[in-house]
Amino acid sequence: MPPRRIGDDFDADSDSDVSILDDLEDVGRARGKGKGKAIDRRRKDKGKGKAKEQPYAWEASYTRSWDTVQEDEAGSLQGAVQDLIARGRRRRLLAPATAIRRTIIRHLILVLDLSSAMMDRDMRPTRFDLMLQYAREFIVEWFDQNPLGQIGIVGMRSGLGERIGEMTGNPQEVLKAISERHKLEPNGEPSLQNAIEMARSTMSHLPTHSSREITVIFGSLTTCDPGNIHDTLESCLKDRIRISVVALAAEMKICRDLCDKTGGQFGVALNEGHFKDLLFELIPPPAARALARTGSGAPANPAADLMMMGFPTRLPDTSPPALCVCHSQLKSEGFLCPRCRAKVCDVPTDCDICGLMIVSSPHLARSYHHLFPVKAYQAVMALVDTPSPAPGCHGCAQLFEKMASTMTNTTEGMSPLGRYRCPDCHNDFCTDCDVFVHDVVHCCPGCGK
């Protein structure tokens, strides 16, 4: 295990406060890291006294919630906390609402760091246990949002890449692959190159219309590679593989490079909650912008080809049993191919008789909300221009406050009246419904669209 901490007399100039955009500084930084390996999670150890100090580069975009909280006149924090929660929820809505082209059929290799650095206890209970727990939640949520996607799992242990789970579209199989903790016991050094090469070879045969992604959860500050990792990076670029890294310790130049050049996301987890946030940011299908960026020879947006698909009829388990075409077994339940009326056991699949791709339409429909997002509601600032304002929320019929709240500051798109208006149907909604409609339902109750 490398020396973790040099101490608090650490020179602030060399590592911590540089802008990552500055190339010269960057080089110096990488060199410093190679020698010292010292920039660990010093923030955690340095105590409250140093809180004013300028943060690390990777912390720059992370607001410390405790710095922004202010007590109200009565000395209570409740208003401030509620305000903060509401603001955090609304920030998500400020993302552009235009239709972006997204890749829906995704292929992801999840690379787990199983090196001895994962036994560190800076995240409770250990980095390793936390990673397994979040990885499970990630997989469940990922399949929920990308029902036609596939996930494979590769581990980094003892300097080798290790295939833990084959690429599959069945969430249960993926979860089973990482269910046995004792088989994944961390050991030795990680090798980023070996793991990425293994992931790359797994995905080399995939059709062009699907996305190829690698998500690395990386706890170590070193990588023990057999060759030049920049060659690996080049070949990933050529294969249009998008690499995202969630680092648990500190920023590494090579990780940042892998992500930036391939169009992925890079983040350093500051605490348990932030770790989860970073990981879950990778769940929504990425906009197909990486294609344009790599653009070596290939056109920026290749014309999408259409696939013929059939939507089957499901037979109940009370129907008369018949032989299925996939296993030749006598079964009651099953799905009927719409073209040749053959009976298959499970969808999605290709019909064994006529070769038609059979999918259940709910599988497809799960991703439609990415294509047709609900327009962001506008905060209503005053009711002067509304002749007869509705007394209650259009969604849940909760009555609105009559008086504008005084505590809320109106700069961040928060409505002092708690009203948010749909730009299309001009109905008012409360904060809860606003968030619920945009995050969960993806359909405005007023317009019905």
Binding site: R102, M307, M308, T313, S360, S361, H369
Partner: protein
């Protein structure tokens, strides 16, 4: 029934379809009046089952959707109801509120509006918003009125209109959010052809879809299959669907198709092969 349960009801109140349904040429005609009186009996038995049971009724009218009654916001209107020595007061309040608001809404309908597509999606999404507010103790309610969230929330949809294909995506989105909220959607199809979308809704959320053979006996169906909450229904044998159609509506002509052409990037469905996907271009 040891746990309190919440029931949201969505009633399809299309004047045209109800008129067709009440025609005497049907084998078993059912008029809106007789349906509503049977429905009120069902509502009364729901709130009578347990004191904490809650109820919200949404009406889907042509072109709009309205909250007709909810047991949480009723306190203000309670005084306007005349006391009646022979009726249990909550029943009286419930019955007169629902009948009154349905009458108001139907009278307010213009002749032209009556042909507008039914606001079923709006009613379903509103009931989801309502359930969302009940299940998540929100920041806007005061702690005093924060009580035990009703378990087993469910939505019961009474449908008389045929499917409208433009509402395919919104209905599918509502189904997925119902799955997330663990809401069961039950469908009672009173008149008209089977609804593909509502069949999928019931199937995906674990509810039951019932196409009534004898619409005039709707109360019997209601008490036997929809009165017990989903938790208890596992112990009873509730009628199941025989076939579920997993067809979808295409994006270009909103036709319901069983074999479609799907864009490999955004998964939009088309009924004819098109050179360029119109959704993601």
């Amino acid at each position: 029934m040891d746990k309190a349960s919440h029931l949201s009801v969505v009633i399809d109140l299309s004047p045209t379809q109800w008129h067709l349904c009440s025609q005497s040429s049907n084998p078993y005609p059912l008029t809106l009046q007789s349906f509503l009186s049977q429905l009120l009996a069902f509502f009364n038995s729901h709130i009578a089952c347990k004191d904490e049971n809650t109820l919200a009724v949404f009406g889907a009218f042509p072109g709009k959707s309205v909250l007709l009654y909810s047991s949480t916001t009723i306190a203000a209107e309670e005084h306007s109801v005349n006391a009646d020595a022979n009726t249990y007061r909550p029943f009286k309040v419930l019955d007169s509120t629902i009948m009154g608001s349905i009458r108001n809404q139907l009278e307010a309908l213009e002749l032209l509006e009556a042909e507008a597509p039914i606001g079923l999606v709006g009613a379903i999404t509103k009931s989801l918003c309502y359930i969302n507010r009940l299940t998540i103790p929100s920041s806007s309610t005061t702690p005093a009125e924060e009580k035990q969230a009703p378990l087993d929330p469910r939505i019961l949809i009474f449908s008389v209109s045929p499917d409208q294909s433009p509402s395919y995506i919104p209905i599918m989105n509502s189904i997925f959010s119902a799955q997330k909220l663990k809401v069961t959607i039950d469908v009672c199809k009173i008149y008209g052809p089977d609804s593909v979308f509502l069949q999928q809704a019931a199937h995906l959320t674990g509810g039951s879809y019932l196409h009534l053979n004898r619409p005039d006996a709707v109360l019997q169906y209601l008490t036997m299959s929809f009165l017990p909450p989903p938790g208890i229904r596992q112990l009873l044998s509730v009628p199941t669907q025989d076939k579920i159609d997993f067809r979808a509506a295409c994006f270009c002509h909103k036709k319901i198709v069983d074999i479609g052409f799907v864009c490999s990037v955004c998964l939009s469905i088309f009924c004819n092969p098109v050179p360029v996907c119109s959704t993601c271009r």
